[in-house]
């Protein structure tokens, strides 16, 4: 069928997304209300006077009938209001901008490391299949995946932080830097560049190295495996032989045909692994005391702050869905066969 326009594809895809989002949101809503006990009570602890509990209950709308709560919930989300926490009275949107930015900073650099390491090793392993290069590459990928990100982090902290004392082992930046840095985007790295504050940038980078490398290496294993398999498959495709029959040099065949075609699913996998990355981010942030949204989630869970947990999970869900649409879109752009 002749090429459907990219725009049509995007619109169709977006339309399909709505049921999925709805389901996720509903699941989150139900899940947290299915829990036994009074959530407000649980969050505030035992020593709070009943009057205060009631006040908060009314304020957060927990006393309304459930379908009304559901309606309010959805309507709030559409307007961008993700609620307020019970325990420390922060607006979720504030958590998203401040802590979310920290997570974004971490995951962005981690993803870059993961892709670079993973793709390079995967390409080499696939091209030189069954040679020692391949075996080493695969083993590396497997072992690195098998290493829990918090263990890798711990060892990194021990070696580089404690024994060698080269790198800091926690936080996003030193207190001094944080005090001096002006807030623009909340992403420290970017803010430092905007300010032209190179000392701060150095400090921030040093703080980034261990967490980002830990998370990045951990995620690289997926890419190694995928790229390798794809390169092997692609090299077997018929058009490769046909290209050789036209006298295309082996180098061009490998790079222009095999590697490029093998990389196509990378985008999908990146998208799919955003989920994995977010999970890993939660752990990395906890290990390195990184003030990201994952760390916040863990803290709020410990404190039984239901609205905070609900809000954060909703954010996660929306992010995951958005990334999946973006990935599909990029895929359709790259591979013309996919458009409906």
């Amino acid at each position: 069928m002749p090429g459907t326009s990219l725009r049509t594809y995007l619109l169709t895809r977006l339309a399909l997304v709505i049921p999925m989002v709805l389901i996720l949101l509903t699941m989150v809503f139900l899940l947290l209300r299915v829990a036994p006990g009074n959530p407000i009570q649980a969050a505030l602890g035992g020593h709070v006077p009943a009057a205060y509990v009631n006040q908060i209950t009314r304020k957060l709308g927990f006393n309304k009938p459930i379908y009304q709560q559901y309606g309010d919930y959805l309507w709030d989300i559409v307007r961008g209001n993700f609620g307020t926490t019970i325990t420390d009275n922060r607006k979720l949107s504030n958590i998203i901008t401040v802590n979310g930015a920290a997570t974004l900073e971490l995951t962005f650099f981690a993803m870059i490391i993961a892709i670079v390491v993973g793709v390079v090793i995967g390409l080499v392993a696939g091209r030189y299949r069954d040679t020692p290069l391949d075996i080493f590459g695969r083993l590396f990928g497997i072992v690195v995946y098998a290493t829990p990100v918090f263990f890798l982090g711990l060892m990194g902290q021990l070696v580089f932080g404690v024994w060698l004392n080269w790198l800091p082992t926690s936080d996003q930046a030193s207190p001094l830097t944080q005090a001096l840095l002006k807030t623009h985007t909340n992403i420290f790295f970017v803010d430092a560049i905007i300010d032209g504050n190179w000392g701060a940038l150095k400090d921030i980078s040093e703080h980034l190295i261990l967490p980002a490398t830990t998370l990045g290496l951990s995620t690289a294993g997926i890419f190694i495996r995928l790229i390798r398999v794809n390169v092997i498959r692609t090299l077997r495709d018929d058009y490769i032989e046909a290209a050789r029959a036209r006298g295309i040099t082996e180098r061009d065949v490998v790079f222009r045909h095999a590697f490029r075609n093998a990389l196509v699913p990378v985008i999908t996998v990146v998208g799919l692994n955003v989920a994995l990355l977010l999970g890993g981010a939660v752990l990395t942030e906890t290990t390195f005391n990184w003030p990201g949204i994952g760390h916040s989630l863990v803290t709020y869970l410990e404190n039984r702050d239901y609205t905070a947990v609900q809000g954060i999970i909703v954010v996660f869900a929306l992010v995951v869905v958005a990334i999946s649409v973006l990935v599909d879109f990029i895929n359709a752009y790259v591979d013309p066969r996919i458009r409906y």
Binding site: P19, M20, I23, L24, M27, L31, L32, V34, A35, P36, G37, D130, I135, I142, V143, Y145, A146, T147, P148, F150, F151, L154, M155, Q157, L158, G161, V162, W163, G221, I222, R225, L226, V229, I232, R233, R236, P265, V269, L272, N273, A275, L276, L278, G279, G280, V282, L283, T286, T287, L297, V298, L301, E302, R304, V309, F316, A317, V320, V321, S324
Partner: protein, 341 residues
Amino acid sequence: MAVLSRTANGLRERKPLLPGVARATKPIREAHGIARGMLWAGAVITGFFIVLGLFAQWISPYKFSEYSSNGVRFPQLAHPSAKHWMGTTVQSSDVMARVIWGAQTELKVVVIALVMALSVGVPLGLISGYFGGALDRALVLIMDALFAFPYLLIAIVIAFLLANSSIGQGVLTAAIAITVAYVPLYFRVVRNHVISVREEPYVDAARALGARPRTIIRKYIFFNVVQNVPPIATLNAADAILLLAALGFLGYGIQPSQGAEWGYDINRAVSDASSGIWWTGLFPGLAIVLLVTGLTLLGEGLNETINPVLRRRRFGRFEFVEAPSPGAIDIEPLAEEPEQS
């Protein structure tokens, strides 16, 4: 395959006892080279841990929370020594004992979780894939939504909810949390496979002959699908161990009184690190790495032997690679997305 046996009249062909088994294990016995290496290395390592786990009681020098012997308390945070090969923790527990008992905990939880996930995911996938219709669409929507979500988050939330409920924290909670995270995976894989097999000519022929759906599923589809489950399940087990350790690290896993858990131990080790104490974290961590590596090698080895697309037969330098058999799915281990189907 012909099996000959000697009878009074000379040689006679004997039907192999379990043709299904022989057929199923054929690819494994034919495996060579790297795939075989992985298979055996993985099996050995995994086997080692299974033994540790099963016989922890007899292998381990101490119990997992034992902190004294004959009334004398063990040293706290002691370096590895002859008495405590891997040192002791801040609570005077022997690290090696905790590692060995940890193996039992990991295995217990993961086995329970996988069995549950399989028992829910596989039948749902079979039914949904074969019958289609509204039920299928509804299930797919839900499962896809869940599937896109980070496993860890699902598991944390479930564990959190269950911990506050009557079930409380423990083995069952952790297992359920892991199960819920993985059911969509099995559902999806099985369903995709069923759909591709369902349209095969031989199934069509069976339908034309009037076979009942139940028979068709049982005879053709089930075996075909199930053959692909072991590699997935093995790789999934690897993933599940990591998930369990993560839960333990965050404090949602097993309670210390119920057993030793590697992830939990690493969490405890974080505060030791600033003093340069390395043994409390290193050994549990290495255990995780080893076990997961072993399982992954086993799973990938199985995958390479069973999945014909990647298979390389033993013909020396000729590469006789079969075209993908219609029944085989492309298993992308741990990159859980088979090709766009």
